[in-house]
């Protein structure tokens, strides 16, 4: 079974007061995050941590080698769910906002390196726009044996009609969907303009000279532990391609 961690931020009053951002609060953060947490725990998976609001810190995902402590948190669980405001840079780096500067207000993905200790397999970020579809390869460095990053290439709506997305993702995972399908279907209500995307790395056999063997990819093969197969870890030296799947409407 899987160990998972959750970080969710609803209030951004400290970031606003500090002049770091004008971002508003999120309204149904904890409906989604609690729903995800509840769906996994009721299926027997273990919650390693659940940090909310100012207890969620950017150092939790920042690599140890870059001054963070990911080996204690994000890189210490199989699956990590985070909900906050997000964005991406022109070079493809993901960006996320926190409501406390511990030690910085924002995380940038060039300082993530996940899976080094063979723990982190999947990251799910219910945040706007953390994947730049024009520069997805800017995320490559985060895959230090991480299997899949689940994010958004545009807006992700917060409100009364998207409150069940977390529980939907959790139920999909424990019903046996692949990680990728669980994310795409779970965060889509097929009404509001959500923009799910899932990104993974593949080896040279998967790239296959550009004629991609999608059947070999983690997007096609990975399930939550205990609910289906999981593909192998790929160390950076084995990675030949970056693959992504997105939904557009």
């Amino acid at each position: 079974m899987a160990r998972f961690g959750v970080e969710a931020i609803r209030y951004f009053n400290h970031a606003r007061a500090a002049g770091v951002s004008t971002a508003g609060d999120l309204t149904y953060t904890f409906n989604r995050s609690n729903g995800f947490d509840s769906a996994l725990r009721s299926a027997g998976h273990t919650r390693a941590f659940y940090w909310s609001n100012t207890d969620a810190w950017e150092t939790d995902i920042r690599d140890d080698d870059r001054g963070g402590m990911d080996s204690n948190w994000v890189d210490d669980v199989d699956l990590f769910w985070i909900e906050t405001h997000g964005g991406s840079e022109a070079d493809g780096r993901a960006r996320m906002l926190y409501d406390i500067a511990h030690s910085e207000w924002r995380t940038y993905s060039d300082r993530w390196q996940l899976g080094e200790d063979w723990n982190s397999e999947w990251v799910m970020a219910y945040s706007c726009d953390t994947v730049n579809l024009n520069a997805v390869t800017g995320l490559w460095n985060i895959f230090a044996r991480l299997h899949i990053y689940c994010g958004a290439w545009g807006n992700m709506y917060d409100g009364i009609t998207t409150d069940e997305c977390g529980e939907d993702v959790g139920d999909n995972l424990t019903d046996g969907d692949t990680i990728s399908s669980a994310w795409h279907d779970g965060v889509s209500d097929w009404w509001v303009d959500n923009h799910p995307v899932t990104v993974c790395v593949g080896d040279s056999a998967t790239w296959n000279g550009g004629n991609i063997r999608w059947d070999l990819s983690a997007l096609n093969r990975d399930h939550l532990w205990g609910h289906g197969s999981v593909g192998p870890d790929l160390a950076p030296a084995q990675q030949a391609c970056l693959l992504w799947k997105w939904t557009e409407g």
Binding site: R10, N13, R16, A17, A18, T22, A23, G24, D25, T27, Y28, T29, F30, N31, S33, R47, A48, F49, Y50, W51, S52, N53, M69, N72, H85, G86, L97, C128, T137, N155, M156, Y157, D158, G159, I160, T161, T162, E164, D171, D175, D177, T178, D189, W190, W191, D193, G202, W207, G210, I212, W214, D215, S217, A240, C241, L243, K245, T247, E248, G249
Partner: protein, 313 residues
């Protein structure tokens, strides 16, 4: 934020609200009703040659029942509101489209599949179903030299909107049908509120401008106080719709009541934001439409010792 700008933008979208609207009772559902709905759903899928259910295996999972079907397929029903979902056993990259297709071609294929399923049989008295939107799921890749593969179309999804007495039931798509490239139905979800169309009341609908003002106030309270003022051009888009609101799959709901729903996108500095906000469209509220959801679970604060596992369950 310039509230008047937001109000004007919302009103420009034209919600087409009527002067008066019915408050419609929803049928209370039991677990047996949910299972009866599941049986009907499975029969419909069987008759449309989408799946067999002669070896269906039902599992009770608390608020849901899951039926495991041959070839890795499953069907799920939630007991509270009887939404139904079918998921085929296709792997995500199995049976992709051979090429990218024009939207009109995909919509035509999906509408033909919908006809085969006789989706209109689910809409109830005074109900109707209208096409709303096409979605496409695609994939591509890049090697280390930034050589990009051609995009691959994996699935096409159509969403339909249920209406009762001509008023749309807003929220998650009422029907979402997903097709693979070989025409296989990869997934189908029905989220249609069951009603005997008992009209409990008929109420005057508040003016669009009043609703837009209330929604702008709701947004202002979400945005809170900021050191920097949010400029008017932070609003990227704002649309207003009138309809009944479906409160979600897991919430039993007594009535369909008129509601205004706004979708608002903002961008300022480094953050993009997208909100769905709702207010009652009648003076007397028939549904609770809280601006904020639940709070975080009760775990101990992290304090000054980040290495300890205070947030563990």
């Amino acid at each position: 934020m310039n509230q008047q700008f937001l109000i004007d933008t919302l009103m420009q979208s034209g919600s087409q609200a009527p002067v008066r609207a019915d408050i419609v009772a929803l049928t209370p559902l039991t677990r047996d009703d949910a299972r009866a709905g599941m049986n009907r759903f499975l029969t419909a899928l069987h008759e449309a040659d989408i799946c067999r259910h002669d070896r269906a295996n039902l599992a009770d999972r608390g608020e849901r029942s899951v039926v495991h079907l041959p070839d890795g397929a499953r069907a799920v029903v939630l007991h509270a509101t009887r939404p139904l979902q079918y998921v085929s056993g296709l792997a995500p990259f199995q049976a992709p489209y051979e090429r990218l297709e024009e939207s009109a071609v995909l919509v035509r294929q999906l509408e033909q599949a919908a006809q085969r399923l006789d989706l209109n049989a689910w809409v109830g008295e005074r109900g109707s179903l209208a096409f709303e939107r096409l979605w496409q799921t695609k994939a591509r890749g890049s090697d280390r030299e930034q050589k990009l593969s051609n995009p691959l179309l994996l699935r096409a999804t159509c969403a339909w909107r249920h209406a009762v007495g001509g008023i749309p039931v807003l929220g998650a798509a009422s029907v979402a049908l997903h097709l693979a490239g070989d025409g296989t139905v990869d997934a189908l979800s029905l989220q249609i509120r069951q009603s005997d169309v008992e009209v409990l009341d008929t109420a005057p609908v508040i003016a669009e401008e009043l609703a837009a003002r209330q929604l702008a106030e709701r947004l202002a309270s979400v945005l809170g106080k900021s050191k920097d003022r949010l400029p008017g051009d932070a609003i990227q888009s704002a649309t207003l719709r009138f309809g009944y609101l479906d409160l979600g799959k897991r919430k039993a709901q007594r009535v369909l009541a008129p509601t205004y729903v706004a979708q608002i996108e903002l961008q300022h500095r480094l953050e993009r934001q997208a909100y769905v906000l709702a207010v009652a469209a009648t003076e007397r509220p028939y549904l609770e439409l809280p601006l904020f959801g639940v709070e975080a679970p009760a775990v101990r604060s992290r304090g000054l010792h980040p290495e300890c596992r205070d947030g563990a369950s």
